[in-house]
Amino acid sequence: MKIGYSIFQTGISRTFLKDHPLIVNGSSSTAALVIVGAGAGAAFQSIRDRAARIVVLVELGMECLGTLTGESRGLEGSNVLGFARFRLGDGEPSNLVELVRQPQTSQTAIEASKEIFTAAGLQVALCNDFAGRIIDRLVRPYYNAALRRLDEGLASADDLDTTLKLGLGYPEGPIALLERTGLQHHFDVSQALFEAYGEPAYSPARRARVTKQRQGK
């Protein structure tokens, strides 16, 4: 079943340009609504006929979906889901969309969301509404550890990168990847997760902090 949906573009999206199939596939259909762009959260609050849709999808930044929908007693959830296409700093956006649900989110809305993203050529990973979702939660401690170990002289940057590429089949080593995509962006995400979880592994590594401070000058 192909699900018709309209696009509500609210400012510039970090990951969806206007020629992306997700945007192009949008129509005048009111069956579903996809809110895209930096202002998606604010725009969501202005939508009055939300319950009439199969699904309302809201593009998220680093915030939780619950900040838009409200939460109570772990019973939150409706036809509203959040989504974020993973993009590491200034790198190319990936083909992966993290689809954010809540405890009582309707299964119909989840299935409709997967259909919409898959039809636009994207892969979907469903997750619950936690800060950092899946990828940032896993990679930020790893990136911080790599940056710290470089400082501590475990190995040279080239040897660190080479080892992780050859040993684990990663497409790029962590040091080259972070320097290419912007250490300041890593700082921002890692700092936000450090504030959310208070765990030392998320505390931004010195090299990320230095780059962030240089950007601020």
Partner: protein, 290 residues
Amino acid sequence: MEIKTIGIAGCGTMGAGIAIVAARAGFRTIVYDARPEALDKARTQTQGFLAKSVAKGKLMIEQVDTIMSGLISTTKTDDLAQCDLVIEAVFEALKVKHELLGVLDKVCPAHTIFASNTSTLSITEIAAGSGRDDRVVGMHFCLPAQLMKLVEMSPGIKTSDAAFQNAWACCLALGQKPVKTKDNPGFILNYFLVPFNNDAIRLVEAGVAEPADIDRAIKAGLGYPMGPLELLDLVGLDTQLLLCEALYGMTNEPRNACPPLVKRMIAAGHLGRKTGRGFYTYKNNAMVGG
């Protein structure tokens, strides 16, 4: 001095793979294991691997006889007396390695370098029980050794430059790609991989997402060839527990501590692919739930 004969002590999966690397590179290779059945099994697997290499055009058929004739199996440590380099790949426990190296120190001539294929233990600690701690180096091959080029090489505190450079040159002659790391717990690979995998297990524990969604996110989002949970199923949850115990014991870093879910899965017999169930269920080697 030039290394001509290489000994491999311990003929499990890693030892057998390293033996193929050495023999294929033209070194006289003596493989020691106290268990004759392990040597027989490795020899059969080696013949199978070389036959596949011929079928794929990576090896000439006449090279197979040369390789196999240069590969000697033995159940006697005395036979390692001819080796210029012995690479140990025995069970990952300091006591086991100390016992082996203590014996080899009496058997091998003074110039013989001992290398350890340990993935987590300290080279300095292994060397301390060897009787020749200036001639012990870390030489960690990746699994499967016969296919993976990377070797993490680490000097212990007392390792001489000459011994390390000699082993490094030998690694290059083996056709491998050595990288130098400090003698730190987990070196590079396991230092990063073990806690990364633990973090993925903790996401499952915390109900953040299902294993298949976590693996899909990591593969599609970052381009990794495998997700952490399917990799854990391949490696085995029992192995992850051992790695965690070794690394956490040395570092006390919370991310290295074994997540409780791993212990529950081991108790339930869900060790991964080898038992048909881990984070996924496997039927006839096909993954269910991926």
